[in-house]
Subunit: 284 residues, 2 copies
């Protein structure tokens, strides 16, 4: 399919991300259906004009009419969903997702999928600390990156289609990465940072310190409010790349601690200078 | 002294913090002198109306006219300065500072100080990633906390005077802590967070990842641009409280890593829920 105005789009999973996709695509004039087992979510989306039609379970007629299906499910249920309901897809339909981990999922889904539909994986790197369709907001895409994650099985047509989706959703930047590159990147940039924020928040009972905080602690723990169900799944599904990043960070942190223990001022300053230089480049 | 309009204020050290104090106090109508060995800083402050008089070395007449002396020096040179020039202070003068560590400095300075002047320590918990008087800006005080750090030697009068200084500078909140409480708090809230940010920035060569970053990495490393000379001094002067906080964090981070290694989903989720609950309370 192309992104033409009479395309029928189905969103499976109407949480924060599914809802934000719905808002953006509805505003662009597409006809949007959604499936979510939570009746309240469907009702909210209908009443607020986010979707045109809603279902609390997979609907054969709606699915067989969809040119594009966007999966915004928890990673753990995504594979099962495909296995159970893929016979309902329209022939030629394009499928994509929003899942935050890729290697453990993409190859598997592509291998079980009917050969007359195509799944092209994507990761919209946007989010909020709150969740649910009620908190959905497509402005979160504006300054964010959209990663298309193709494998060798994907066609150039599907890759282009997926890039276009990122563009029309309003993402600031579209990139393409392999599943392995994606998972390493996400292990470092997103999961390691969440591990650090959680550890900083749980390592001591620091509630009374809120009175004295400067902005540093607030910044480092902004992401410490975390959806435990979703993030524990994501961590486990990206276990090895994340463990590798955690080890690298731990070793570096221990090295800094040793420099302080040994009062190695030059060593400390060298680390700080490297950090400052890299962060300055990062800001450019 | 009281904060009356004809008070003569001397600022020793005209960097980011000294300059920001000068801006705020000058606007309130006080007569401001400043000493800084950097002639350019003095010239900038005079040309931009931050101060009334400037000196590139301690000036006997200016110091003996000052009712209040504010030290905004690097911690390592502060003690020496007092030892060398304290004979120039006006009898009855009140001294305060902006130093980010306290136990290692306050008792020592109070014990060597002339008995007809009083030093009351304070820590304005504000800052920027840039430095120098050219970047000074008293708006950084607006949402920030000002901590008065008295010892048993301090008089109620000096403590009240120091609180008033925090208020007229425009700080959002004034608190009082002992030097030991202050150093533990700062070890955790400020120094540990800077250690984490530096380690995250230096643990792998991540410059190319800037293209893909979400906001988490950016938030956690905002403070990774660090003045290596000042911060290495501050770390060393607060060595034991900081090492203690680093150990607590490391143990917690290792625990999270073990939970992931063992695929202990319930353990991971319990940590995430504790983290989320504490962060939510923190935001209230």
């Amino acid at each position: 399919m192309e992104w033409i105005s009479n395309s029928q789009i189905m969103i499976v999973g109407l949480g924060l991300m599914g809802g934000s996709y719905a808002r953006a695509l509805k505003r662009l004039g597409y006809s949007i259906s959604a499936i979510d087992c939570n009746e309240q979510s469907i009702r909210y989306a209908l009443e607020n004009g986010l979707i045109d039609r809603g279902y609390t379970q997979p609907d054969a007629a709606a699915l067989s009419a969809a040119d594009a299906v966007i999966f915004a499910l928890y990673p753990g249920v995504f594979r099962n969903w495909i296995e159970t309901y893929q016979h309902l897809f329209k022939s030629g339909a394009l499928l994509t997702d929003v899942t935050g981990v890729k290697s453990c999922l993409v190859y598997d889904i592509q291998s079980i999928l009917r050969c007359d539909v195509e799944f092209i994986a994507a990761h919209p790197m946007a989010g909020r600390e709150v969740y649910g369709v009620e908190n959905s907001d497509d402005r979160i895409f504006r300054d964010a990156n959209y990663i298309v994650v193709p494998t060798e099985r994907n066609t150039p047509h599907a890759i282009d289609w997926c890039k276009s989706l990122g563009r029309i959703l309003g993402f600031a930047r579209i990139a393409v990465l392999s599943p392995e590159e994606h998972d390493k990147m996400i292990g470092f940039l997103s999961q390691l940072t969440h591990c650090i924020a959680v550890s900083l928040m749980t390592c001591s009972d620091n509630r009374h310190l809120a009175d004295y905080t400067g902005n540093s602690f607030r910044d480092l723990t902004r992401i410490a409010r975390i959806n435990d169900e979703m993030w524990s799944e994501l961590f486990l599904m990206n276990k090895e790349p994340l463990l590798q990043q955690m080890r690298l960070f731990s070793e570096e942190f221990d090295e800094l601690r040793r420099l302080l223990e040994n009062e190695d001022v030059e060593g400390l300053r060298a680390k700080m200078r490297l950090s400052s230089r890299r962060r300055a480049e990062f800001d450019q």
